[in-house]
């Protein structure tokens, strides 16, 4: 579904709050802002409650009879289970530092998209039912009754948060709206109010091993197609293995990279790099998903999906696990996997078989990010590049929210880009690294029916790219996230037309000189490399690149 408003119209935003107080301003469900409700089969597939046909615009959401009890019990349980949630309910002083940090607020002007107010939506209920002041003084104490309209409001706004944690960077107490949204969504899941776009990938991943629902033979054939393209470009036959016992390394990446471009070019990059190294590694069709849409429903569901990675590593008897480029996948792997499904004592501490480098920072989880792995290779001069093959690209780098604020992997991808490309330009400090802006479509909001929301939420990122496009002629937006690769192309078409999107391993493989390769005339997208048809004019290319 396309968003019909022009960018100029969309960027004309009214930041004045309404006349009425927020408790007295019911949400208006605007088409283009929210996702469809989940079909019952998705919920049934994983045993989520209250599976039924429903639409968010329905007057009656067909909640369970005892919905109120479920919600309050759900809140109580989570207040007891999560110190983060409990403290974040109590200590906010409403200073407003977070208010204008949210990409959805900047892009919509809707005051309930200020993280502080999005949190107050649930805090007000917390006060009413869990604090003395709220019980006694009600609205005066910022408390309000739990009604079905409140549930609808939670739903509308907790699915206008991408759990990007940007607000948490600026909060003087580190209050993280992502934590509050996650709890809010868990509670909404107890009522069966899942979105279709999240429910589908969760059900697929549980049953088939990946979000896209690719069955084993589809995975191998998709990768074989990519290998055919690699052969056409390089003349080299790449033959990856699947579910191979005894391999040294298990490679796990988001399934999105196997399916749609430009993610497929990144997957080609992995295949070419790992082939060139002669790495003893295997793909798995069972653990064929690095991402985790379960993380957008409940902690339990996320754990259930994440289980497959260690289980498969154990079954195959590998030594350690290498993970591809993905944002929320790495939030989960860095901060949750070992806790949920570890200890991975059946694996060995990861060591690069090429350089001998020990990845000390991953010695418990035993899972290494591919940009850590590759940066180490480059540092040790294990790879040869012809950077001029990327000279037609003026590149900027988008830090993904999760790898930025849930991990802090900033330099590794930049090191790869600088060593494989001549033309790299940064966006401003206010728009990158820990202050990076979300693509606007994370945490399962990358559906089609909420395109206006995605364009609004992605506006700060879009404008940031537009600025470097105008200043430096940037035409390529690199990133380390499969969701980014899926959602940034339409965002760029909208806010910064002419800018394409790629993963860092596409850039790397494009520049990688492989042993025995034919003279490259095409890039990984099977497009002609500019200027290569003529003989030996690399220098000329370089000069262009300097401009």
């Amino acid at each position: 579904m396309e968003n019909e408003q022009k960018p100029e119209e969309l960027a004309n935003i009214d930041f004045n709050p309404p006349e009425t107080g927020w408790m007295d301003t019911p949400p208006e469900f605007k088409k283009g802002i929210f996702c469809y409700g989940s079909r019952p089969s998705y919920l049934e597939a994983v045993g989520f409650p209250n599976a039924r046909e429903w639409k968010p615009t329905d007057e009656d959401w067909k909640l369970p009879d005892n919905w109120k009890e479920i919600v309050l019990e759900g809140m109580k349980e989570r207040l007891e289970k999560y110190r983060s949630f409990k403290i974040f309910m109590d200590i906010c002083v409403r200073c407003g530092a977070c208010a204008d940090k949210c990409h959805f607020y900047i892009g919509s002007g809707d005051p309930k998209n200020m993280p502080v107010l999005r949190a107050e939506l649930i805090r007000s209920v917390y006060r009413r039912y869990f604090t003395t002041a709220g019980k006694m003084f009600g609205k005066l104490a910022g408390a309000r009754d739990l009604t079905e309209d409140v549930i609808k409001e939670w739903w509308y706004y907790f699915y206008q948060c991408t759990e990007c944690r940007r607000c948490s960077v600026f909060c003087p107490y580190g209050i993280d709206q992502a934590e509050i949204t996650m709890v809010g969504r868990e509670i909404l899941n107890l009522l069966g109010t899942q979105t279709d776009w999240i429910g589908g990938p969760v059900a697929n991943c549980y049953q088939k091993g990946n979000h896209l629902g690719l069955e084993p033979h589809a995975i191998t054939s998709n990768i074989e197609y990519l290998c055919d393209d690699i052969e056409e470009i390089t003349g080299i036959t790449v033959e990856p293995s699947f579910n191979r016992k005894g391999a040294e390394i298990l490679f796990v990446t988001p399934s999105g990279d196997l399916f749609g471009d430009p993610g497929t070019y990144t997957a080609m990059g992995y295949l070419m790099l790992l082939h060139e190294l002669g790495l003893d590694y295997t793909w798995s069709t069972y653990a064929s998903e690095g991402g985790n849409f379960g993380f957008f429903t409940s902690m339990d569901m996320a754990k259930r999906l994440n289980y497959k990675i260690y289980a498969e590593a154990k079954r195959l008897g590998v030594k350690w696990i290498l993970g591809g480029e993905c944002g929320h996948m790495w939030r989960v792997l860095n901060q949750y996997m070992d806790t949920w499904n570890g200890p991975a004592d059946f694996l060995e501490e990861p060591v690069s078989p090429i350089t001998g480098t020990k990845f000390e920072n991953a010695k418990s989880t035993k899972m290494v990010h591919i940009t850590e792995f590759t940066a180490d290779l480059i540092k040790h001069n294990k790879l040869q590049f012809d950077k001029s093959r990327n000279d037609h690209l003026n590149i900027t780098f988008h830090d993904s929210c999760n790898t930025a604020r849930g991990m802090g992997i900033f330099e590794e991808p930049r090191y790869i880009i600088r060593n494989t490309c001549n033309n790299f330009f940064e966006m401003s400090d206010d728009e990158t690294r820990e202050k990076t802006f979300c693509c606007g479509s994370g945490s399962g909001l990358n559906a089609g029916e909420n395109m206006e929301l995605r364009m609004r939420g992605g506006m700060p990122r879009g404008h940031a790219v537009k600025k470097v496009q105008e200043k430096y002629g940037v035409n390529m937006l690199a990133n380390i996230c499969a969701i980014d690769r899926a959602v940034l192309p339409p965002l760029m078409d909208y806010w910064a037309p002419g800018v394409d999107v790629c993963g860092t391993h596409e850039l790397l493989a494009n520049a990688l000189i492989m042993k025995g390769e034919i003279k490259r005339t095409q890039d990984l997208r099977l497009e002609d490399l500019p200027g290569v048809e003529d003989d030996d004019d690399d220098e000329e290319n370089n000069e262009e690149g300097e401009e």
Binding site: P17, E80, G142, N361, M407, K467
Partner: protein, 329 residues
């Protein structure tokens, strides 16, 4: 509504204290009973609240990382904004608590001419820091009323605080800055439409209360000068558990004491508990070492999973056709 209500409440508290002392002569209640009760409620309330928080565990390792992770040895690691060690966490927390590190990052986002732009905005940081630092200074200064002889350190602080040597007695800057900073924080809540929109009575009330405490203190010191010797006898009486009530101590002193007592009583039940909460915030007080060292969730329990065996049973034929190895032929 929240603002007017809070203003009214604080005004009412002042009237209550004044009437209680000047009209019905309940000096004992306002000078002894309420202050003791307030201290007890404050201490018990804060301790209980922190205990209640700490009863909820930290199941997952969720620091917000605000700098480069520690990975390869040749990549410069941001040891305080993304700490890997306990030492790094202590540094991060110290910067957060003493210098408001996160608030210092503050930037202002605007959409002008259809383009999102960002500019430096340190006023909230400055106002917040000035407020808290001077509040702390004033608190320390007041220890002179609860110790005999007055420790040298407090005299030094007083001397520094009054180094400008304006007027008699010397103007102490901390009190003035405290009231000015609180007034700025109040102005933000009224003058910035977004902040006004999110503000509750619970945001205005402590500001009015603290401003009133500051103003009554200033009035006592510079204008309606109270009998400072009697005041000290009373405060020393409180601290030595031999409370005395002396005549000749003006009502303004009782108002000041009463408002402080209200603040102490209010504290544990309010957002003012951010003072304790900031220490326990899991996005700040954990190191980013969850791949290096396993974090254990105390309430972890098994979940239903889809095993490889189930998967192979469902897809065995397709796997064999695609040449994928299987466990059972």
């Amino acid at each position: 509504m929240g603002m007017l209500f809070s203003l009214f409440m604080v005004a009412a508290l002042i009237v209550v204290a004044y009437a209680g002392v000047a009209v019905v002569n309940m000096q004992n209640l306002f000078g002894v009973v309420i202050p003791y009760a307030a201290i007890a409620i404050f201490l018990a309330g804060v301790i209980l609240k922190v205990l209640k928080w700490s009863r909820s565990p930290v199941p997952f390792h969720i620091p917000t990382t605000c700098g480069q992770q520690k990975s390869l040895p040749w990549i410069k690691h941001s040891s305080t904004d993304n700490p890997q060690t306990t030492g790094g966490v202590i540094m991060r927390m110290a910067l957060e608590i003493f210098l408001f590190r996160s608030l210092f990052r503050n930037i202002k986002s605007e959409v002008t001419d259809g383009r999102a732009t960002y500019g430096s905005d340190k006023l909230l940081w400055l106002g917040g820091l000035a407020f808290h630092l001077t509040f702390f200074t004033v608190l320390i200064r007041h220890l002179r009323f609860f110790a005999e002889p007055v420790p040298a350190m407090i005299n030094t602080i007083d001397a520094l605080d009054g180094f400008m040597q304006i007027g008699v007695p010397h103007l102490l800057m901390s009190g003035v800055i405290l009231v000015a900073a609180a007034a700025y924080l109040l102005w933000r809540r009224v003058g910035i439409s977004q902040v006004k929109y999110i503000s509750l009575a619970a945001d205005y009330f402590p500001l009015f209360l603290i401003i009133s405490i500051g103003l009554t203190g200033i009035i006592m010191r510079y204008f309606a000068k109270v009998d400072i010797v009697s005041v000290k006898k009373m405060t020393m009486g409180l601290v030595s558990l031999n409370p005395v009530v002396l005549s000749g101590v003006g009502s303004i002193f009782y108002i000041h004491m009463f408002l402080i007592s209200v603040l102490l009583i209010y504290f544990p039940f309010s957002k003012l508990m951010h003072m304790g909460g900031v220490f326990l915030s899991p996005t700040r007080n954990l190191s980013n070492n969850s791949r290096e060292k396993r974090h254990v969730n105390p309430w972890d329990y098994p979940v239903k999973v889809h095993t490889y065996e189930q998967y192979e049973d469902e897809f065995r034929e397709k796997m064999k056709e695609a040449g994928i190895p299987v466990e059972k032929e």
